[in-house]
Amino acid sequence: MDTTEKKDDLPLGTPPAFARMHTIIRRACYVLLFGLVIEGALTFPLLAAWYGVPTLTPAEVCDELQKVMYSDDSRTCETADLRSPPLGGPGEAQHQTTAQDEWGVQPKPLYPRIGFRELVRNKEEREARERECAAEGPDHPSCNPGT
């Protein structure tokens, strides 16, 4: 009778031999559930804070990322019409040759790591350079920061 009572305490479908394992799995599921939810909720705020929102708008973050991605201050983040990949049209930045990569069987990007709110500083510095260039004329070094 004791055995029967014990068996009745178990959840439906759980054999006595696996009761402990099923309990562990149930608890692991709770941990994963809370982990997934907390992570899902925090990802967007973390990304926003790190990359400079609200000082930069999300669209400006996208612009700044393009400039880092291709090491080209003139790159911007633009939407494309319907005739864009995967539905046709040329690949984005198809003829862009400014990206700094070590090409080979294991390509390695050479763009810098983006630090906390570094995109805000990148934008401010670039705009300062542009103002200086406009004031000093096209021969000023600020007009050709890469050289």
Partner: protein, 236 residues
């Protein structure tokens, strides 16, 4: 003549007939599922997960109460595994579907390369440069096609059958959880081979990726349960 077993059964049912018991069980399960489904949908959006979690937990509480009241409802662990594996499929589908099919929309262009720059440069390096757009890391598109068109639709269907306590749901849950194992191992191997590309200059490389993705292992955690549960509880 009434046997001891009959008396016990009548007591368990609180003195109600079998039809009433079945009906009350069905209603209790439905009430719990309403909260569980609502919570899961919100958790599936990621950003509203904090709102969805209390609704989901409320559903679990309702189900546990029904179970303690002697009603024939789904075991808590089946509920947890079913909804968690479905959530896993939904979250993965969301990210990969916009990368594969909507890579040139503003939302994708803002979110995916930003996320990629933080955790996995496969979603940042030459983003949208491929003729099909989206992530440019070698092999990544193949995983997306496999995931979106085969694994995750199958997974969500399996979860629905599993939550309905159907035999096919249990069987397909085993299939989809093993498929998850194949995808995870293949994916991690692919990432490791191209680690130079994927983790160079990333804000939180390797460890960051693992911390982010480790919560997606529910299908593997579920496997030992699926292989040891008494399959007679799943009906044809």
């Amino acid at each position: 003549m009434t046997t001891t077993d009959d008396t016990a059964a009548a007591a368990d049912l609180g003195g109600i007939g079998l039809d009433d018991h079945v009906e009350r069980s069905r209603q209790a399960q439905r009430a719990a599922d309403r909260w569980l489904i609502g919570g899961t949908i919100l958790m599936g959006t990621a950003i509203l997960g904090i709102v969805g979690l209390p609704l989901f937990l409320r559903g679990l509480v309702l189900q546990r109460r029904a179970q303690l009241a002697g009603l024939s409802v789904r075991p808590i662990i089946v509920t947890l595994i079913g909804y968690m594996v479905m959530l896993d499929g939904a979250l993965n589908t969301f990210g990969w579907a916009i990368d594969l099919l909507a890579s040139h929309t503003y939302a994708s262009r803002i979110f995916l390369p930003t996320w990629g720059n933080m955790f996995d440069a496969g979603y940042f390096w030459h983003y949208n440069n491929l003729p099909v757009g989206g992530a440019g890391a070698p092999g990544e598109k193949a995983w997306e096609v496999l995931g979106i068109f085969v694994v995750f639709p199958m997974r969500i269907a399996a979860c629905i059958g599993f939550l309905q306590m159907k035999r096919w749901g249990h069987q397909w849950m085993i299939v989809t959880c093993w498929t998850g194992m194949l995808m995870w191992v293949g994916y991690v191997a692919n990432m490791t081979v191209y680690a130079d590309l994927r983790f160079t200059s990333v804000v939180f490389p390797v460890v960051g990726w693992w911390v982010y993705d480790i919560f997606y292992i529910t299908p593997f955690v579920a496997l030992p349960y699926l292989h040891t549960v008494n399959r007679e509880i799943f009906s044809d």
